[in-house]
Amino acid sequence: MGIDRRKFLKVSGLTVLGLTGGSVSKVFSSEDSTDVIQPVRPAGPLTAQRWAMVIDLRKCQEQHECDDCVTACHTAHNVPDWGNPKDEVKWIWKESFEHAFHEQEHHYQQEKLKHATALVMCNHCDNPPCVRVCPTKATWKREADGIVMMDWHRCIGCRYCVLACPYGSRSFNWRDPRPKIKKIRPDFPTRTRGVVEKCTFCEERLARGLMPACVEACKHGALYFGDLEDAHSNVRALLAERYTIRRKPGLGTNPEVYYIV
């Protein structure tokens, strides 16, 4: 036949590649939207140019037993309760003041602050390092309102974002979370093992005209949530009125959670 085995294999291999290449490239091209339904916005979603939260730690500190915000958030979002620091998944929690504000800590700090707790969660930074490092854009900053979102369909579980976050806000699902969810709510998905999750400023509640679960649950009025770019918003009024601090401001992440101490 005049062709040796090696050349035959090479030619047939390339042929197969060429024939299938067309269909493979379809995977990589963007498909037309099969949008049969016209998008509609309900009358009452909460919108903002830049969502931000102000936490009045003075009101929070006295309530040592209270964790209504944590319960509300973790219940609303089917967050599992692992009960150990290795596997734990948490979107919002009470951290010691010393750990949350390491730079502010000193030996002669006010007594009440030494033993204080600070409510911490994702800061939805203006310049988020987690977004910068994500290789699949599974986490991104929404242009419309500044919320740093998560797409649990796309996350490959590389945990690079967990490394990049200076605040420890992100949790990874080391195992299947479902057995550890106290009461699964049907109106919000659970996540699967192998993806990273964090606070999303309750964007699904904002779309329905509801305040974030933690803000609504706080009976001591310690949590304020509003539009930073609206000069007349509650958060702007508070920031003008009171001295506020943010976590690790020197890193340039520009966190949008402010604390009144």
């Binding site: 620091p85 290789p135 796309r154």
Partner: protein
């Protein structure tokens, strides 16, 4: 040429089959991890990257070290390296494959890795790392295939391979630089956020890789007919020496910056490694061993009279390799998390599952190196002596 991998003597088959057995056992452990999740490892909310990624980081360096034989031979016509460039390139292929496998086993959703290519994110160093590693693998496969194929036919390789080989030189530097960038750009982790991280990675790569190559050359001289010769081994020894000197110098620079500035967020990590921190002393014996081995290796290598003696060179290479493996493959990644961003001191110990899977990946790499070296040396007719073939087949064959 691939058919050479399937023919060999009893020792070859025994070695290959035992490696495959290890890979098989490791696969069972991986199936457990795949079904239960990464919770079966020692990783946790605080120490999120551990043994797997540390091995990846170390092996990228070994892969990059092929440039240390390619550069002198192709750019500077250093003829002595002519016989061993293929060994360096095949080692690079094996190391990059191990890197990719270690990343695969570390992913929470490994079958979604294609998302990195479906949704390219140039802002992410991890995206560039996949491009870089993938490209380097393709480059080395093409280069080794073409040059070995030409050698088999007894002709010079085609001219178009030369620019591709030259490209592999900066590309080798790039794979380890971009891996360093994964760590060095994170403001959240002050232990890694140092400009010297990429140079340090390269220096340790150019010490550990050629050290391994020296050991391979000497092993091949013992078990096959291939003799690299005295000069290439000695030159590689000089390369290891200089690279190790630079590496130790860089480490001392890091130590100085942390200790003299006395800034806790830098110093605490070094305290954890060398003295222990808040009751966690797990890294201390490893780091001191690594440091002692590094000094020992320099003592053996810096004196040319000692370096010229092969038993001493072997001991020095083993010391270099182990010292750098501990430094990159055990200390570097884990220490970045201890203390954590919230100032806590977590504990990380890899589990049996984690170690078995890692062993399987290393066995895969060893299998690749074995098979590829077998092919290369069989093509050259230098795998076994013809006497052995005569005994086995009852006939005389040229080559094997």
């Amino acid at each position: 040429m691939l058919e050479r991998a399937f023919v060999g003597d009893k020792k070859y088959y025994a070695w290959v089959i035992s490696l495959m057995a290890v890979i098989g056992i490791a696969t069972l452990f991986y199936l457990k991890q795949f079904s239960e999740g990464l919770g079966v490892t020692g990783l946790g909310r605080d120490v999120t990257w551990g043994f797997y990624i540390a091995q990846f980081t170390f092996l990228v360096g070994v892969a990059a070290s092929a440039v240390m034989v390619v550069l002198p031979y192709y750019l500077h016509n250093y003829k002595a390296f002519g016989k061993i460039t293929i060994l360096g390139e095949f080692l690079a292929v094996s190391a990059v494959t191990m890197c990719m496998t270690f990343i695969f086993v570390d992913m929470g959703q490994p079958f979604r890795i294609i998302n990195v290519f479906l949704h390219p994110s140039p802002n992410s160093m991890m995206f560039w790392d996949t491009v870089s590693l993938g490209g380097y693998l393709v480059l080395n496969v093409i280069i080794s295939h073409v040059t070995l194929g030409a050698e088999k036919q007894g002709i010079a390789p085609p001219k178009w391979i030369k620019p591709i080989i030259i490209l592999s030189i900066p590309w080798a530097v790039s794979i380890h630089t971009v891996t360093a960038f994964l760590y060095a750009g994170l403001g959240a982790r002050p232990f890694w956020m140092t400009a010297i991280l990429a140079p340090r990675f390269l220096a340790s790569a150019f010490a550990a890789g050629p050290a391994l190559l020296i050991l391979f050359c000497l092993i091949l001289r013992k078990v096959t007919r291939f003799d690299a010769g005295r000069e290439p081994v000695q030159t590689l020894g000089k390369i290891v020496t200089y690279a190790m000197v630079v590496n130790v110098f860089f480490v001392l620079m890091e130590v100085f910056t942390a200790v003299y500035s006395d800034i806790p967020e830098h110093l605490e990590h070094f305290k954890f490694m060398f003295l222990g921190l808040e009751g966690n002393h797990l890294m201390v014996p490893w780091m001191w061993t690594s440091s002692i081995l590094a000094v020992l290796s320099l003592v053996l290598l810096l004196n040319p009279n000692w370096r010229r003696k092969e038993p001493i060179l072997i001991a020095a290479c083993i010391a270099v390799f182990l010292s750098l493996w501990i430094d990159k493959g055990m200390a570097l990644v884990v220490t970045g998390f201890i203390p954590s961003v919230l100032g806590e001191v977590p504990t990380y110990v890899p589990t049996l599952t984690e170690l078995m899977i890692s062993l399987g990946v290393y066995a895969l790499g060893a299998l690749l190196v074995t098979v590829l070296y077998k092919i290369a040396l069989s093509v050259r007719g230098q795998w076994v002596s013809s006497r052995v073939i005569e005994k086995q087949t009852g006939s005389v064959k040229v080559g094997s």
